[in-house]
Structures are given as C-alpha cells and as structure tokens.
Symmetry: C2
C-alpha cells in the first residue's frame, strides 16, 4: 500500500492512541521508516514534520524521533509562556492550505509575548524622534483644539502636502498638490492603486519573494499574482518580467519595490530602473512602485525611485513615513500618474479622508528641518547594526545557509533545500523567538526553506539569543532530513 504522508501520519496517531507506540518510544529514522512503510523519504519527512507540528512526536537533536508526551501537550492551552522558554510548542497546528491561513498562523503564533520578535517590519521605537513628534503633537493640540471638531475633507492636509512636495522633488518627483493623495499608510496607497488599474480576475506581476501583505491584498481583491523572480543584486529580473509580459495578455500592473525590496533588501541599479520603466510602457501596463523603504538605505545617498523618470504617468508612486519617521502615525501617500483621479475617488469611498492630526504634526516636523538629520542618524544605526547581526548569523546558523543582506533592514536567509522554516518557527515561538517564514512570501508556496529576519533592532544579548535559538533549530531540522 502506498501511503500519503497524511494517511501515514493518521496511522501512526492511531497506533499511539491505542498504546501500540507509547510515549518515549523511538520511531524509525527517515530512511528506516521509508523502507518499512513503503514511502519515499520526502513523504516520511513530511509525515514527521506534521506529527511534530501537532505535538505527537519530538525530534531530539542527533538521537532521532520519539513519541511525545502527547496527552499533556495536546491538552495544554494554545499559548506559550516566555517563563518556560524551553517548552515545546503546545499549539495544535493545522496543515495550512492558503496564504491567508499561513498569515493567520503567523499572526496567532506571534500574538503571544515574545522575548525577541524579528518577524515584523518594525525598528526600535527609540530610533524614531518620538520626543520631538510628541512635543509637536502637544503644540498642535494646544494651538488649535477646534480642529478636532471639524469634519475633515479633501485629499490631505494642505500644510503637510506643502512640506512633502519639496521632499518628493528632491527625489526627482514633480508633483502638484492636486496630484498627491494622503493615505492611511502605504498599505492603503497600494490597495487603491491596485483597485484603480485592475479588476477581479486580472493578473498583476509581483516580485518573488514578495511582501506577504501585498499577496494577501491581491488575494482579497480577486487578482492573480504572477511571481517574477528577484535577484539580490538587481531586484526583479527584467528578463523574466519581459517574458511574463509577452506571454500573458491579462497583466494590468507590475508591483515592485525597486528600493530595498521587502524581504530581500535589494536595490535595483538605476540602469535597471530605466529599463523597467521602458518595459512597462512598451507593454502598456502600469508600474505600481512601493517606495516605503526607499529612505532606509544604509548608504549616505538615497537612491531615486523609478517615478523620477516617468514622463507619461505610467508609474503610480506609493510612499510612507511608517518606516522612516513615525510608525504609529499610519501616514502614506500616492502620486497616481494618469490614474490619479480614479485613485482619489476610490480612497474617498474606501475611508473618506486620512486623519489630519498626524499630518499636522508631520508638517511641523518637516518644516523644522529635523527630518534629514533624523534620517542620516537612522541610516547610520542601520549600517552599524547590520555587520553585528550578520556575524551572529554566521556564528549560529548552519554553514549551508545563504544570507542576502543588500539593504539595512532585512536579512533573507536561504537554508538547505527541504528545511521547513514554518515548522522551525512553530518551535522557535515556544522559545520566545519569532521570524518570518519564507513560505509567506509566495502565493505559490515557494521559499519554504527561507526566512526573513528584521535587523532594524539594536544588536545585543537578546538578539544573540534569538539568532542562536533559530540557528540551533535550523541545525536540528537539517539533521532530520
């Protein structure tokens, strides 16, 4: 009989529940089991992973797979205490079919208190000018409390637009106030941009790996994601993009982060940016440029966005201060090119207007001239932090891991083929540590052996602990293979 991994797992669970395989018994190794049950080694591995994830078995480093104390484990509440950092994960994990479910799992896994969460896009709170922003916020409230009672209208606070436009001009963007729409973060900017150019059923090209929030957004909008590979040194492969544009007629847009792509951190060289723009123009599709990380280079000179060369309104430019200046403010913007009127209408019927208080504070902050010095400092911190994190990764991670560190915000780690970083994450959260598993960065289930680490957190003992924890789990998982 040819077992599927699930049928084999069910069989083993029945054996355990009936007492035929008691707690503590050593189970066959992958090689032995494959022979004994007449399955391939990879089916055997998937079976054990599944059982381990559900708490039925335990993999012990260097000694093998054992029947776990599953009665206790499965009875435990689905929460992990940091006070018991060595406890195995007590959550009964499901086998997840879709990206939505994988994302839900990430959210529920990381909802518990963690010693070190490297899974989010956040930097250390005190890397931001929080005192200055709070002071200016107090001033705004003191000087004009009546504004809180006014029903807001329009596409953004005029003072904020006036402060933002010179900043955008310095990046090479020629924007009028009417061509600029302030949004609830760049997430909303992306959402209205996509809705403006694509209808349900249309296809959109994304980078692979791609930011999982974008993939979820496409799924929720009924759009198909065509995943075009990203190369660390160059960003989206333009050869692959050209091939995709030639072979699919239903492509409406290309979504790309040419500056410090999430999760690879790579920046597209200027020559590639110009080629990318020509390519989308040749095929008559829109480029939606997500520049949320553009300011977060670990170099002194911030690279220009593709939008800087756009003369025909082919690029919808999305930006944000959520990463560079004020994470809690949720203020982003969109410069919609030839789609701007439609974008503004969609924003209006999606959330009316963006709160004005945050915009008033940001306007004051920019007018004060403090933004450029703040960014310089933030970039220096990122640049100083990265080598420390990289060295720790090299100390702790398996030797065959390939690390990409093109930007200053992320590390993208590619482990040996077959390593399941989602399974590793489930164990890591049991020890108070989280990262983002690679499988979240693809709607096709690619990148399962990769992981993303947020390195915009000051390096110290906690991060050392976190990286050591993840490294040792990765080594153990490599051994089981």
């Amino acid at each position: 009989m040819q077992y599927s991994y699930q049928a084999l797992a069910d069989q083993l669970v029945q054996d355990m529940q009936a007492g035929r395989r008691p707690t503590g018994e050593r189970l066959p190794s992958v090689r032995e089991g494959a022979a004994a049950f007449g399955v391939s080694a990879s089916t055997m591995v998937r079976c054990y992973r599944h059982l381990e994830a559900q708490g039925w078995v335990q993999a012990r480093s260097k000694s093998g797979i054992f029947v776990a104390d599953w009665r206790a484990q499965r009875a435990a509440r689905p929460s992990v205490k940091v006070a018991a950092p060595v406890a195995a994960p007590a959550v009964a994990f499901e086998h997840f079919a879709s990206l939505q479910q994988r994302m839900s799992e990430l959210y529920s896994l990381t909802a518990q208190p963690l010693r070190m969460g490297l899974h989010l896009a956040s930097a250390a709170a005190d890397w931001y000018p929080v005192e200055a922003l709070a002071r200016m916020g107090q001033r705004v409230l003191r000087s004009n409390p009546r504004a809180l009672g006014a029903y807001p209208t329009g596409t953004g606070l005029p003072e904020f637009k006036a402060a933002l436009i010179p900043w955008l001009a310095a990046l090479g963007l020629d924007v009028e106030p009417e061509g600029l729409l302030i949004t609830n973060g760049s997430t909303e900017a992306l959402a209205v941009a996509l809705r403006a150019v694509a209808q349900p059923g249309d296809a959109v090209v994304v980078e692979s790996p791609a930011y999982f929030g974008l993939l979820q957004m496409l799924e929720n909008l009924g759009l198909k994601a065509l995943e075009v590979p990203c190369v660390p040194e160059q960003g989206m492969s333009l050869e692959a993009l050209e091939y995709a544009l030639e072979h699919h007629s239903g492509i409406r847009a290309v979504v790309a982060m040419p500056n410090f792509q999430n999760p690879l951190g790579c920046a597209m060289p200027e020559s590639h940016k110009r080629r990318l723009l020509k390519l989308v123009e040749r095929f008559g599709v829109t480029l939606i440029e997500d520049d949320a990380f553009g300011d977060l280079c670990n170099q002194a000179q911030r690279p220009q966005p593709v939008k800087a060369w756009d003369r025909h309104g082919s690029v919808i430019y999305c930006g944000s201060f959520s990463k560079s200046l004020a994470p809690a403010f949720r203020v982003g913007w969109v410069v919609g090119g030839r789609h701007h009127a439609r974008i503004a209408s969609l924003k209006l019927s999606q959330s009316l207007v963006t709160p004005l208080f945050e915009q008033a504070v940001l306007a004051q902050y920019m007018q004060s001239g403090a933004f450029a010095p703040h960014l310089r400092k933030l970039r220096e911190r990122l640049a100083a932090n990265l080598p420390l994190v990289l060295a720790a990764v090299q100390r702790h991670f398996p030797l065959d891991c390939r690390v990409t560190s093109a930007g200053g915000w992320w590390l993208w780690v590619e482990c040996a083929p077959g390593v399941d970083t989602l399974a590793v994450l489930r164990q890591a959260v049991g020890q108070g540590v989280a990262f983002t598993p690679g499988v979240l960065f693809s709607a096709m289930g690619k990148h399962g052996n990769c992981l993303r680490l947020n390195v915009a957190q000051p390096f110290g003992p906690e991060m050392e602990f976190a990286l050591a924890t993840v490294g040792s789990l990765l080594k153990r998982h490599s051994l089981v293979l």
Copy 2:
C-alpha cells in the same frame, strides 16, 4: 420636425453664435416655445435649464428667459467669487451621466469659499468637547511618547475596545474584544463589510434616498444598488424590501441606517427593526447596519440598533465617533457577526491598522465618564436648533415644499415636481450658499426635486441668509416651470 431638448438647445446656440439671437433678447416662454418648436413643455424646460446651466441664457425672475452675455460668461474661469454674491454662475456645466460625476461636481462646487455650507455632514466644531479631547491628547503624548515609534498591530487599541464594549453593551450588543474591529471611520467599516459579503456583479439593497457616499462605494466595488423606498416615519419600506428579495436572486446584503437615516433623518420603529431582521434572515442575506447617526437623536432616549436582536450573526454593525464625538479622529468600528474574520482580513489588507493615538484619546475620554453628558448636551442643542431652522424654511421656501424632519441632523425638502435642485445649487454657490441636491441620493437619478440641508449648525443670521437665498432661488425655478 420633433426636437429633443439637446437638439433644440444646439439649434438655439447656433442661432446665438450666428447673431440671430443677440444678447439680451427675450426668448419665448415655455408655453410659446413649446408651440413654436413643436416640442412638449417639459422638453422646452429641459432645454432652457441646460442652456442656463451652460451660461447661454439667463432666467430673470418674473420676466422670462433672456439670451445671456455668453461670450463673457463662458470665457470666465470656472470659479465663483463670494465677493460678488449676485453674479450668475460662470461654470460651464456638463451634462452629467453618472453619480461619480455628480459627486465630483458637488465637491468642486463646494471647494470654493462659502458663506454657509449646509451640504456636509458636519456639526459646529464647538458642539464637540474639543478642549477636553485636546487636553487628553496632550496627556497621551506626554505620558507615552515612545508609543509613536511602535509599529502598530492588531484590530484596535485594547484600552479603547475595553471602553467601547460597555457602551455597545448598553445598546444591547454583546461583543467580545475579538469580535470588534476598529476602522478608519464608519466609511471603512462599510467598505470592508460590503467586500466581505458581496462580489462584483452582486446586488445590494439600499434605502432610497441613500447616503451618496454609499452609492459611490457600491459603484466603485462593482456592486449593483437596488433602491428600496424609505418612508419618513418608518425607514425602509419592508413591503418593498420583501418584494425585492423575492424577485432578485443575486442580493447579498441590505445596507440600512435604521436610526436617523441619512438623508431623511427617519428612525425605524422597534417593531419594524425586528421585522427587518426576520426578513433578512428568512432570505439568508446579511444586514449591514450603519449606526453612525444612532447617538444623534433629538430625544433623550437613544433607540437600539437592529444588531441588539441579532442572535445568528446576520447583522454587520458599523459605528463611528465622527458625528457624535470627534469628527477629525476618523475612528469607527465594525462588529462583523458571522463575517467578522473575513472583515478583519480585508481591513488588514486595505489599511493594516487604524492609528492608535486617536483611540488612546477616546479611551481616556470614555473612561472619564464625560461621553454621556456630552451626548446629552449635543442632543439638546440639536433639539433646540431644529425648530428655528424649520421656521426659517417655512418663511423662505416655496409653499409647495414638503419638509421631512424626523431626526435632528437633516432636513429633507421635496420641492414641486420638475424643480431641478442641482441647477439651483449651481446658482446658490454663486451666492456663497451650498446644500446637497437630491439627485446625489440615488444611483438612478431619482430625487432630483429634493434637497438635503444640514441643520446641525447653530441657527443665526448666516443660516437665515442661506435659507432665504435657497428659498428665493427655488421660487424662481418654480416660476420658470
């Protein structure tokens, strides 16, 4: 030859441009023209309206229709100065095909400085506790500036949810924190609710007249609006709703404002609310209840929402503080019933999270116990204001206008059949006064002889002037008919 109004208008324009009908010439009256050109009186009226809207002719009260100084008028820039309040509108108006365009026209008309704008949903800024909110905002910023640097996650600030839940409980809603999602105003709440239950091409029942933002939202989501008449004393006609549900198979949801409907202001009696719930349950459709005006009764006792009787999660409840407490904060919420998980996912991929600062301030405000006294005062103000506005409307408006004033926020005025309130608005803005024309409250172009007045502004000489202006324009338009 049988002219259409457009062909007749084109013919008259040619005559004017060729000098055959010089500036200042009196044109035939409606009756004379109808006979002379062989058209019906209503075609003649539409023709003159169209020409007047485009600046070709001028209707002079009690004396007739004259060829305008169209060279000067049509050369003028499309802006209206308040400094010259008696000037005729200089905007070359288009004939509008869709609701989107009608809304754009309203926005551009009202973008200019106005003496009195009665077209928005705003109340007087000092009717809100702006000083207290500003003070609490300063305290929030002083006590925890670091929060501004933290990347927000989750479905709402826990403290705000904790303060909101007892408030909702007092309305009869049994809500857990996980079943409550904080949104960017009730606009976003409605948008994610609609996206959760309906796909492009589906039909959604709305009240008629309905809030134009809702109609625009449906249009932008590719949903069909089925307009079911609203009766001032009872809200949505349940007989008409039942008929619609029986005769259309593609209806996914009913969107209703059972408490103080926008624009009618009517409140559905409790017996009708129970019947409405039973009806949607019988047909297996979702009720999306917009309760944004629920707190704004001009009675002491606030009516319960339909959600209070919902035992099967059939009602998606949307609320907001934008009308009742803090207009500039843009904080709303949704209790999604059986659709809640899907709604939360859509919100996440639409705008990630709602800014936390505003929620922190609102949490403090509610904890302080000041909300109930504030609401009492706001209701008293609305209740005291309404009779003054009503009396002025009766003084100035044509006698055949029918006024609905069930709530305390709006007046809905139905003028004689044939009066085009959009044309009246174009002239009113020239005199610095705006209201909302009825045609915006229907995707089918109904209610063209109606208008909505915001009466949540303290009555005084400015409002008297505004109502006198609108009233005299309405009288003049009635005369032309």
